[in-house]
Symmetry: C2
Subunit: 357 residues, 2 copies
């Protein structure tokens, strides 16, 4: 039976990426060796790293003065590396969920952290608005997409201080005006690659402004100077990232991704609104994530939660259980998820409704 992969991450990747990684595991670039067994200093892999960096810049129209890094450690490592590099006295954070909360916690080790607003009062089911960003903050940090709750900041904001964004779960899903940010980072395991590589887009001129001594490997300057090769990079995940970047380019770029993602999420939100059994968890349409669509049972059908999950699973829907802190269901609609998977899920929702309601 065909499986439809709605996992929140690690998540579905393009078939193009999966197939090319398999081929490279057999024989990488005609070397006669596996991509898993080749030196990162080889000519063949050096080209992969440089190509991935340049294509990332091309797809997101990244301006001059920015660098793209591929490092290990995950976005959770960046929660501490960002303030280590950028925070002299004070930073400001917007708290939109569990990951933002973790980022705030780590920043507090480096100075004064002002949380300008939080949606924790309603289990992070909305994006706060009308907050004031302090002028004296070294930077303002946002989490653009909140995977667990299904909220998203879909527009690039103007901030009075340098803007930093965790884009782990919506990078490359839409065009981004990178010039509005000084730093964008994220784990790759949603829209880009298998788990194990982290991307960082950083504007060079914001570095070197803090007094503390930074461990060499966590100093962005080190990785910029070494082209992300200060230490052995995660070779296979970087190769996979390159394949996904090529696939995005071949399929119309981030503009085409955005169009397709909007179509997928609109169809699914419409069905949730229409279907008698379900209600969306995010009421404000403006705040709804294009990447992660969350919904719960309509109260009068509450006892059908488990039966629906089992029904959907039997029909090949994978990873549609909601996060434990929200409950209900979640379908993640990353770039690589085909429209047909969304249609298959909607069919399952409608079939279940016709049986039960």
């Amino acid at each position: 039976m065909k499986k439809h992969n709605f996992y929140a991450g690690p998540a579905i990747l393009p078939e193009f990426t999966v197939n090319n990684v398999i081929e490279a595991c057999r024989d990488f670039a005609g070397t006669g060796l596996s991509i898993m067994e080749i030196s990162h200093r080889s000519k063949e892999f050096t080209e992969v790293m440089e190509h991935a960096q340049s294509l990332f810049k091309e797809l997101l129209k990244i301006p001059e003065g920015y660098h793209v890094l591929f490092v290990g450690g995950g976005a959770s490592t960046q929660f501490t590396v960002v303030p280590m590099n950028l925070m002299q006295n004070k930073s400001a954070y917007l708290n939109t969920g569990a990951w933002a909360t973790k980022a705030i916690r780590e920043a507090k080790l480096y100075g004064d952290v002002e949380v300008v607003a939080s949606s924790e009062d309603k289990n992070f089911s909305y994006i706060p608005k009308g907050y004031k960003i302090p002028d004296d903050a070294d930077y303002f940090h946002i989490t653009t997409n909140n995977t667990i709750y299904g909220t998203e900041i879909k527009e690039d904001m103007d901030a009075p201080v340098p803007l930093v964004a965790d884009m782990s779960s919506d990078i490359l899903s839409r065009p981004v005006d990178v010039s509005k940010y000084v730093l964008i980072y994220g784990g790759a395991q949603k829209n880009l690659a298998p788990a194990g590589v982290t991307f960082v887009i950083v504007r060079e001129d914001v570095l070197g402004n803090v007094d503390r001594k930074i461990p060499t490997i966590f100093d962005y300057r080190t990785q910029i100077d070494k082209g992300s090769m200060f230490n052995t990079p995660p070779v296979l995940p970087v190769y996979a990232a390159l394949q996904t970047l090529i696939w995005i380019k071949d399929n119309g770029g981030v503009e085409a991704m955005q169009k397709k993602n909007r179509e997928k999420s609109s169809l699914l939100y419409q069905e949730i609104e229409r279907n008698k059994l379900f209600v969306p968890t995010i009421k404000n349409e403006e705040d709804r994530s294009v990447m992660n669509v969350c919904w719960v049972m309509n109260e009068e059908y509450a006892e059908l939660e488990k039966p629906f999950l089992e029904f959907a699973t039997r029909r090949g829907m994978v990873g549609v259980k909601g996060h434990r802190s929200v409950g209900g269901f979640r379908a993640s609609l990353y770039n690589a998820l085909p429209l047909d998977s969304v249609k298959a899920l909607i069919d399952v929702m409608q079939e279940f409704e016709s049986m039960k309601a």
Copy 2:
């Protein structure tokens, strides 16, 4: 033409590992999904992580009270994470090469570092002996195998203070008396897995003895409590590590690996000593690495260095160029390298000798 992979790392892996990773990239554990696309919280991957940890403990006979962690970031990240967790006032380091030098540099950010001895005076071509380890050090740090120079500390020493070892390039190549160490760490990309995962073996009772605040992700306690799942682990590299651990067990364990590795390195050192064209870079047999065998041209044949490298490359020998700081040649003989590859290299050395000498 068959390639013989002598890369220093990322390096050759068992065919068993490569083939099983390819299969899991197609369909992981019967899920119908790729190992690259599956949630790390899935039952199937949770089992992989737990199996890898328990097999690591079994193969190295790791005593009670120790934990095995699989994290991202590479050994270079551990250079700063180790002192962060273990160094209250002072630490001691043995300087046996470029990687030890980097580890020393990072430790200095956290307090007083005493370098007990260094072989830098002779380009790290020997292992210092007869040094004194200060009793007041919080720990003593060694690099057991020095990939660049081809030296190795092949016996587990007794130290008067807690012993820490970077075993990036000789882990699982021999039995280790883990009880003599409080912490052993390393990148996986030599004897274990493709680049992207780092192993840490840590004795629980040495943690919690420093005053500084440790970023959550770098506190070993965090990863112990979460079973290496505090954040998304590098899923595919961990799966590959498990395959290699299974392969080691199926092939007689680390005792059998040691026997085979000694046979391979003895054959090659013998040939280097015998062959008129070559001389070994490490004069003291006791200090010679079983993992990385380094040699240079005999002075009177110095002009044949490049021709030999080209000749060997044409015969399918990959990665035998020495590190730029040593010159000459290096053959890395990790667990997965077959004896036949060593014999093929020796054939090439002898054939070249018969042509030129």
